[in-house]
Amino acid sequence: MSNALASPAPAPKPTVDSVIQSRRQNRYAKGTFFALLLIMVVWSIKITVIEDTDWERIGSLGKVFEAANRFIGVDISLFPSLIGPTIETLMIACLGTLLGVMLCIPAAWFGALNITPYKPITYPLARLTMTLSRSIHEIVWALFFVAAVGLGPLAGVLALAVRSIGFIAKMSAEAIEDIDPGPVDAIRATGGNDFQVVLYGILPQVLPQVLSVVIFEWEINIRRSAILGMVGAGGLGLVFFRQMNTFNYHGVTSVIVAILMLILLGELVSYFWRKAVI
């Protein structure tokens, strides 16, 4: 008995040949896509690296290794004079992170959907600030601040502070948006004012995450601080620059070693801090 509402004819059962064919078609499609991608990449390499590089000047691979070899070896006599700049670099990183955290307080407040005071204006403003801060390279910020406040560590501190806002405020705002509203309601219910709500309801919930983010950014700031000196913002970067200019390659390597030591210190501090806090 035929039924107008009978289910449509079932799809044809797969056979070995149909499966093999569809797999093959699939492979060809993917293969073509990647082949095109590869062509594009090769073409890019050709017109940028290959045509742009002065191959004659480079000479052979041997000469390249020779040039690289110049860096191998450390100028030990330089190390005592590196202590000052290293401490300076560390300090710039610390102050820069601290200032950044202070600047992040309003930024994260405005940038969190649940506590921003006037959503149509303050939220987009905060988001724009964070994006701007993150998108501009620290060297560009450093150049800007050197132009504004002159050479020296202050420019470096300001550059790092402003650069850090992007990440710290963004993560903090996300942490604030993710909080459990329960404690906030509870504090409000007991009659707390806005400040107390933040202090007892919000802060305890986001503090671990925020601290973790701050430590992370502090470590990165040590990296950044070391090179900001190259554009005039103080610290090891200046020494690096001078060593390069006097072609003291072993000296350059010494500076790099100093930087790596500093970063290692940062990693150790961060590791122990995490153990203690989290």
């Binding site: 990449v41 890019s44 390499i45 017109i47 940028t48 690296v49 742009d52 590089t53 002065d54 000047r57 480079i58 390249v64 040039a67 690289a68 860096f71 401490i87 300076e88 300090m91 710039i92 610390c94 102050l95 601290l98 994006t131 701007l132 993150r134 998108s135 501009i136 390279h137 060297i139 560009v140 150049l143 800007f144 132009a147 504004a148 406040v149 020296g152 560590p153 202050l154 501190v157 990296r223 950044r224 070391a226 090179i227 190259m230 554009v231 103080g234 690096f240 390069m244 390659y249 790099i256 930087i259 790596l260 970063i263």
Partner: protein
């Protein structure tokens, strides 16, 4: 107070009276000591670095006027020049080649540096982690300067610098993703007699594919941001114009170049955000 009138419930006899205090010894003491020493250190740094806190606010006022006078209006015509635009295209190509090769290198490096899937936990794993940490710790500008010194000016050192830099952090992110997978499918592949390469192919990569795409997009972001500035040290791209104009104290042109850098990075970020949203939906 007369015990009979005390409304508080009596503690059952026999239990010791416990006193709660906010300040626990020695835990609290150590905590406060740490914070105090951090604050002292920071105060000292302000001294050491000679930062004029009192003059600071005055400085911002002067900063405003300096910028208004010398950096405004930015010389827009200068950056619309065809030569400059060529450099812009160069910057973009350098960025994506550096990011691409960096990502390609960081896939095996991340695999070897993942605790659960590394071919040898004793040797390969720590070496891979060390290499990736090393690449990460050296700032991309230092990589650029090193390569420029070794190879000369141009885009090749730029691409190499970006590649080494990207490998460092992409490998770490990859390794973390691999360490977070569900080991069930990996067990299944092991049980059927597959070798490590096949286990990675079928057991690991399908699980991390989406996260990898996210990491790839992030890598591009970072690479592009660095590529715009890398030319400052001779490694190709628009940064070279920046340096030239700074040396010539053509401040209005510098302003224009900085604006173009900011503009391009913002566009790149917008595209990345869109791409990331697409990837999230693809999950």
């Amino acid at each position: 107070m007369n015990r009979a009138m005390d409304p508080r419930p009596a503690t059952p006899s026999g239990t010791p009276q416990r006193v709660w205090s906010r300040f626990k010894f020695p835990g609290s003491l150590i905590g406060y000591a740490v914070w105090l020493s951090i604050l002292v250190f920071l105060a000292y740094t302000v001294e050491y670095l000679d930062i004029p806190l009192d003059r600071l606010f005055g400085m911002f006022g002067r900063m405003g006027t300096t910028l208004a006078n010398r950096y405004y209006p930015p010389d827009i015509e200068y950056i619309m020049d065809a030569d400059y635009l060529e450099y812009v295209i160069e910057t973009i190509q350098m960025a994506y080649l550096g990011a691409l090769f960096g990502l390609l290198a960081s896939i095996p490096l991340g695999w070897f540096g993942s605790y659960n899937m590394s071919p040898s936990r004793r040797y390969v794993f720590p070496i891979a982690r060390l290499i990736s940490m090393g690449c990460r710790s050296v700032h991309e500008m230092i990589w650029a300067i090193l390569f420029v010194t070794i190879i000369g000016f141009g885009m090749l050192p730029g691409v190499l610098a970006l590649m080494f830099f990207c490998t460092g952090f992409a490998a770490k992110l990859f390794a973390e993703e691999i360490e977070a997978i569900d080991m069930g499918p990996v067990d299944a592949m092991r049980a059927s007699g597959a070798n490590l390469f096949q286990i990675m192919l079928f057991g690991v990569f399908p699980q991390v594919r989406v996260a990898f795409t996210g990491i790839a997009i992030y890598t591009w972001d970072v690479a592009f941001r660095a590529a715009t500035v890398i030319g400052f040290f001779g490694a190709g791209g628009m940064g070279w114009y920046l340096k030239r104009n700074i040396l010539q104290i053509e401040t209005e042109r510098v302003a224009a170049i900085l604006l173009s850098i900011v503009f391009l990075v913002l566009i790149s970020e917008a595209i990345s955000a869109w791409a990331r949203a697409r990837v999230m939906k693809m999950k």
